[in-house]
């Protein structure tokens, strides 16, 4: 029904390729989020699914229909834009019903659908207002309402919350989650906000420079990233990458010397031994770094800056070096800039990457 499948979908503008053969299968009713740095092609890919951008190569199916060359209006999709894209000269009712009216939908059915969407989104009292008379959150709800009245198989969202202030964003996020639950429709959602991605998604698609880097559940991406890019992109503050060199391999554990951190030695689980001297990068999330007392697998560093966030503090060190380090500390502490702390690397939390960024398992 509302499944979406991309097969070798790519796009180029002249000689410039912006999407490189994307393969992706989205299940009916699934909530999939595209994330990636700006310019990675996530919006372009969404607009290609919508039919607003043409697909240069490959094929796109929605449900069991091949829609690669089908006009946007005939794909059974709807879309919510970052700018809301409400027609400024139409009131809320007209905005909600415009598409249906233009396509000769029966007036009774149209007003029925408008009423339905309005009540789901609590827009009933706003129906006669123009977009400029609405708050940002209300506009966003109208935009969502406009996509509901189409009764699409697939909802597309292009950074729908990034024009809202922080509080409203949380509120609307919850509302979208509720809507997904109620409608049970397939939703594809583009964002650059990790929290949105982590909280909303059944699966996250991480893109970089037009390539799909990894597809997986939020937890899988967080705990088991396929490469250094995904590891660095998912999680905030971002993962620390410590330069190291492989040493001996004993009992499925690879010894790594952290050359940037006083040659501390950490033994990380690894099935394939690495030749001694192989340069590696050791990934360690700030929340996994442990402040404690000296011992094996620990090193000492000087704090440059401390950010107190209440329950958590972030300690920054090496901020001016090639190897900055962030340590998250739970609870209330009195660390100050200039203090020396001992940082421990829990071996079962650290992961290793090869010099080219691929994950070493």
């Amino acid at each position: 029904m509302g499944s979406v499948s991309l097969e070798g979908v790519s796009k180029s503008f002249g000689a410039i390729k912006v999407i490189h053969g994307a393969d992706l299968d989205i299940q009916d009713g699934e909530f999939v989020v595209f994330v990636g740095p700006s310019g990675c092609g996530k919006s372009t890919l969404l607009r290609m699914i919508a039919g607003l951008e043409s697909i240069s190569h490959g094929s796109l199916r929605i449900g069991d229909r091949l829609v690669t060359d089908v006009e946007p209006g005939d794909r059974g999709i709807s879309m919510v834009f970052q700018s809301y894209a409400l027609y400024p000269h139409m009131d809320v009712t007209e905005n909600l019903s415009f598409g249906l009216r233009m396509n000769g939908n029966k007036a009774a059915d149209t007003s029925e659908r408008v009423r339905g969407a309005a009540s789901v989104l609590q827009l009933d009292s706003l129906l006669a207002r123009l977009p400029k008379q609405l708050s940002g959150g209300q506009r966003q709800r109208v935009a969502i309402g406009r996509s509901i009245v189409r009764k699409p198989q697939v909802f597309l969202f292009d950074e729908p919350l990034s024009n809202l202030d922080a509080e409203l964003r949380v509120q609307m996020r919850v509302e979208i989650a509720r809507l997904h639950h109620e409608l049970g429709a397939t939703m594809i959602y583009v964002t650059h906000d990790q929290t949105e991605a982590m909280t909303l998604a059944d699966r996250i698609v991480v893109l970089r420079a037009g390539h799909i880097e990894q597809v997986g559940t939020p937890l899988a991406l967080y705990t088991d990233p396929d490469n250094q890019f995904v590891a660095g992109f998912i999680g905030s503050p971002r993962m620390n990458f410590l330069t190291g060199e492989a040493r001996g391999h004993v009992d499925g554990r690879q010894a790594v010397v952290l050359s940037g951190q006083g040659d501390a030695v950490v033994e990380v689980a690894l099935s394939q031994p690495l030749p001694s001297g192989t340069p590696v990068s050791l990934g360690l999330r700030p929340e996994h770094a442990q402040v404690g007392s000296p011992g094996p697998g620990t090193f000492t560093t000087t704090i440059d800056v401390v950010e107190y966030l209440g329950a958590t503090s972030y300690l920054y060190s090496g901020t001016t070096t090639k190897e900055p380090l962030i340590v998250a500390r739970q609870g209330v502490h009195t660390d100050r800039a200039g203090d020396q702390v001992v940082v421990g690397v829990p071996p079962d939390k650290a992961i290793l990457f090869a010099a080219d960024g691929t994950r070493l398992r």
Binding site: G51, L52, E53, S54
Partner: protein
Amino acid sequence: MRQRTQTAYGFLSPYLLIFAIFWLWPIIHSFYLSFLSTRRQPWSFNPGMTWGRLTQDPAFYNALWNTLKILAIQVPVMLTLATLLAVLLNSTLLRARGLIRFAFFAPVVIGEAAYAAVFRLMFNDEFGIVNKTLEGIGLDAVSWFSNPTAAMSLIIIAVTWRWVGYNAIIILSGLQSIPQDVYEAATLDRVSPRQQFLYITLPLLKPVIVFCLVLSVIGSMQLFAEPYLITNLGGPGGATETLGLYLYKQAFLNLNFGYASAIAYTIAALAVSISILNLWLGRERS
């Protein structure tokens, strides 16, 4: 954006149809005509009667000379005036802004026939208000319609009166697009208002002024209605006969379409080359 060639041409077709019939075909046709002798039927290929004649026709040279004179005097005077006017209108010190805008911008909406009539009366040799004012302050009356130089001045005055506001509007919009904080920063850096005008305003206005210059050059090259209506078809004795007017006479009074087409292409070539020269002078430093 998807490529939608068919849809696009659907929207463009009525416009392009008009273009093809009333512009594209005439452009080609008049080029062809410029090689035909059209003095008598049947028309025959004879560039000597058109392009050949052009090189040795004193009346053509007179019209060309007159046009270039207007171009050389009227355009710089008008654009300088328009720039000053725009700067004054943009000044926060100005009061009665509405009246002053009206005074300079109103001529823009007045048609050639209407203003030609009033200029004829105001500059009447014997009874006009201009000459009577000149006499009143102890100067000699000027024979605006019988003295060649005076007649040329009259055309220049009339055209300037009509078009200065038009150019000032364009320059004013250019001025208003200069961000105010540039001036605030300059003031804090102790740059005087005069220096601000010379080193900030003028350079930033350059593209707009060049645009006005190109428009004015093209306009002057086509000057027709003023000498036709004010100085009675380019009088006295051809002293205000412009290229446009000469072309009109050849084409529509003598019905010598071939020769007139050659004049038309000469005007076009001049206009295009002067415009390109202007654009080249005003090009952005890269």
